[in-house]
C-alpha cells in the first residue's frame, strides 16, 4: 500500500471487498450471461455506503472531497471482474454531480438522497446516434414553451438507460456549437420519453445499455440543471472524474488479469513443469506487472492532484489513454498465457479482455483525449 491511502480508506476497502464477495461474486457469471444484475444490488451498495462516497453528508453521502476514498472503493468494486457491474452501479457518478452542483436546491434535495441509498437509479444522456465525443454538436433539441421545455431527439449507448428513474439529459436550447447546450433532469415516466431496446455489446454485459428517445417530451423549466445554454461547461467539468474512474478500471482490470495469469501459469504443466518455469513466461509476467504498476502509480498521481484541488485535465487524459492501453495489452497477454482456457467464457480473464476494450472508447475516445492533450501542450 502507498502513502496515498489512510486507515479509513483501508477499512472502506475491506467493506467493499466483503460486499463484492458476499453479494456479487457468487452470481456474477449468471448476471453477465443474463445481461443485467438485480436492482437489489443498488440498495445493498447504498446501505454499505458504497454509492455515497464523495457526496455531501447532508444529502446522504460521505467522504466529500476525498478522492482516494473513491479510488479505493472503485478498485475493490472492480474485483467483481465485471466492468458492466461497476459501470451500472456507477452510472450515478456521471449523472448526479451536475444535479448536486447546479440543480435548484429543492430539486437536488428531492432527488439525491434516494439515488445515494440505491432506491433510485440515475443515468446520464449525452451521446446521440449522430455523434458521441463531439459534445458541442449534439442535436436533441429543447424548445421553450411557457414554463416548460419540449424535448425532441434521441440518445444512445446510455448506461443504466433502461431502468434508470432519473436522467440527466443534454439538449440544445440555443444556437449551434457549445454555447447552445443545456442540461435537464428528466423523470422516467415523463410522457413522450421512451426507452428503446437493450443494446447488445462486446463487453460490459451486466450493464444495462439503452437508446432513449424524446418525442415532444415536456419537461418543466425548473428541471433545468444550471444556466440555460450553460450545459457544455457542466458536462466538461464532469468528465475529469469519469476519466479518472475509467483509468482506475483500466489498471485494476489489468491487475486482476495479471494475478489470474500468475496463478494459472503456476499450476498449468507443460513438458514436465509449470509453465512459469519457462523464462519466456516469467518475462511476460514481469512486463505485464511493470505496465500495471506504472499505470496505477501515474493514476494515483493524477488523483493526488485532484485531491489538492487542481484540475489536471491533461494528466487525467494521459492516464486514461495509458491505462486503457495497458489494460488491453495485459489482458491480451493474460489470455495468451491461459491458452485455450483463456478463450473460454468460464474464465473470467476472457471477460476482462472484452470489458477492457470499452475503456479506450467511453468517456471520450482515446483519440479525443489525444486532441485534448495536444491542445494543452500548445500544439
Amino acid at each position: 500500500m502507498t502513502a496515498y491511502f489512510n486507515e479509513t480508506h483501508n477499512q472502506a476497502r475491506e467493506t467493499t471487498r466483503k460486499f463484492i464477495q458476499t453479494h456479487v461474486l457468487p452470481h456474477i457469471d449468471d448476471w453477465e450471461e443474463a445481461g443485467e444484475f438485480p436492482r437489489e444490488i443498488y440498495t445493498l451498495a447504498g446501505e454499505a455506503g458504497l454509492l455515497g462516497a464523495g457526496y455531501p453528508e447532508a444529502l446522504g453521502g460521505h467522504s466529500e472531497g476525498d478522492v482516494f476514498m473513491k479510488v479505493a472503493i472503485s478498485e475493490e468494486l472492480m474485483r467483481s471482474t465485471s466492468g458492466g457491474l461497476v459501470a451500472g452501479l456507477g452510472s450515478l457518478d456521471i449523472a448526479l454531480p451536475p444535479v448536486i452542483k447546479w440543480a435548484r436546491p429543492e430539486l437536488r434535495d428531492a432527488i439525491v438522497p434516494s439515488v445515494l441509498t440505491g432506491e433510485r437509479i440515475m443515468a446520464l444522456g449525452i451521446t446521440e446516434p449522430g455523434g458521441g465525443s463531439d459534445v458541442a454538436n449534439i442535436r436533441t433539441r429543447a424548445t421553450r414553451d411557457g414554463d416548460d421545455f419540449i424535448l425532441n431527439g434521441s440518445k444512445t449507448f446510455i448506461t443504466s438507460g433502461h431502468r434508470a428513474d432519473y436522467y440527466t439529459v443534454a439538449a440544445r436550447t440555443g444556437g449551434d456549437g457549445h454555447g447552445g447546450i443545456s442540461l435537464f433532469l428528466v423523470d422516467r415516466d415523463t410522457p413522450g420519453f421512451t426507452r428503446g431496446r437493450h443494446l447488445k455489446k462486446m463487453g460490459w454485459w451486466a450493464s444495462d445499455t439503452a437508446e432513449l428517445s424524446f418525442d415532444d417530451c415536456r419537461v418543466p423549466a425548473d428541471r433545468l440543471i444550471g444556466q440555460e445554454n450553460g450545459g457544455f461547461a457542466v458536462i466538461m467539468s464532469n468528465f475529469l472524474a469519469e476519466r479518472l474512474m475509467l483509468a482506475i478500471m483500466g489498471y485494476t482490470t489489468a491487475q486482476i488479469a495479471l494475478e489470474m495469469a500468475m496463478e494459472y501459469t503456476g499450476q498449468r504443466q507443460a513438458f514436465g513443469r509449470p509453465i512459469n518455469g519457462f523464462q519466456i513466461t516469467r518475462h511476460k509476467l514481469v512486463d505485464m506487472a511493470t505496465k500495471v504498476d506504472v499505470a496505477r502509480e501515474y493514476t494515483y498521481r493524477c488523483a493526488a492532484l485532484m485531491q489538492a484541488g487542481k484540475a489536471p485535465v491533461k494528466q487525467v487524459a494521459m492516464a486514461k489513454n495509458l491505462c486503457s492501453d495497458v489494460c488491453e495489452s495485459v489482458t491480451r497477454e493474460a489470455i495468451q498465457l491461459h491458452g485455450g482456457m483463456g478463450y473460454m467464457r468460464e474464465a473470467a480473464v476472457e471477460r476482462l479482455y472484452r470489458d477492457g476494450r470499452l475503456l479506450a472508447i467511453g468517456g471520450g475516445t482515446n483519440e479525443i483525449m489525444k486532441e485534448l492533450i495536444a491542445k494543452q501542450m500548445g500544439l
Binding site: 486507515e7 479509513t8 483501508n10 477499512q11 472502506a12 475491506e14 467493506t15 466483503k18 460486499f19 458476499t22 446501505e47 454499505a48 455506503g49 458504497l50 455515497g52 462516497a53 460521505h62 467522504s63
Partner: protein, 249 residues
Amino acid sequence: MKVLVAVKRVIDYNVKVRVKPDNTGVDLANVKMAMNPFCEIAVEEAVRLKEKGIASEIVVVSIGPKASQEQIRTALALGADRGIHVETDEEVQSLEAAKLLKGVVEKEEPKMVIMGKQSIDTDNNQTGQMLAALMGWGQGTFASEVAVDGEKVNVTREVDGGLMTVGLKLPAVVTTDLRLNEPRYASLPNIMKAKKKPLESVAPADLGVEVAPRLSTLKVEAPKQREAGVKVEDVAELVDKLKNEAKVI
C-alpha cells in the same frame, strides 16, 4: 448489561504465510493484517445482543502494538461503543493475555466477555479458558448459539459428539466457534462515525501485569510439501504398493 469483546490483530486469513529464513517465526513484513476471524464473530454476537436490547454497552479491547487500534476501530465501526487498547510491542502469550484481560474486566465489570475460541496465528485456544479460571467465572467455549436468559446464559457448544448446551450464571466468558453467526461488514458511514468513538490506551503496567514470555519458540518450520501421487494400473498393483512400498497392509 455491559459486554466486553476481545479482538486480536493477526495475519489476514487470505495471506499465505512464509516462514522466516532463520526459522524464528513467520515473516510479518509488508503482510496484510486483519481482525482474527473468530474475534469478528465475537463482535458480531455482541452487536446482535445489543440490537436485541440485551447488551447496553459494548466495550472492545485489544492487546498488541499501536497498529492494533485498527482492529479496535473496525469493531467500533461494526457497532461497539468504545475501545480499550492495551499497548505493548512485546510478544503476548495466552496467560499474559488472560491476565491483562482480567485487569480490564476488573475495571470495566462487564456481565459477559465474548472472545474468539482461538486466534489463527498461534491457534492456542487457551485465553478464554484461562480468563474464566482467573476470574472464577463460568465458561461456555466453542459457542454455536448464545441465549441470554435473565441472569443466566445458555451456550450451545460444538463438541466432538455433537452439540452440548451449558447454562452459565452471569458473569461468564463465552468463546465463539465458526458457526455462531455470519459477521456483517461495516458500512462506510459507520466507519466514519467510529472515528469519533472513544478509544483509551493503557499500558500493561497500568493493569499490574508484566508481559514476559514464559515459553520460548525453538524453531518454526513450514509444513512439508506434499509429494505428487502415482497412478496405478489396477487393484493388484495398488495392493502390491500398499504392502511393499507403503507397508500399511
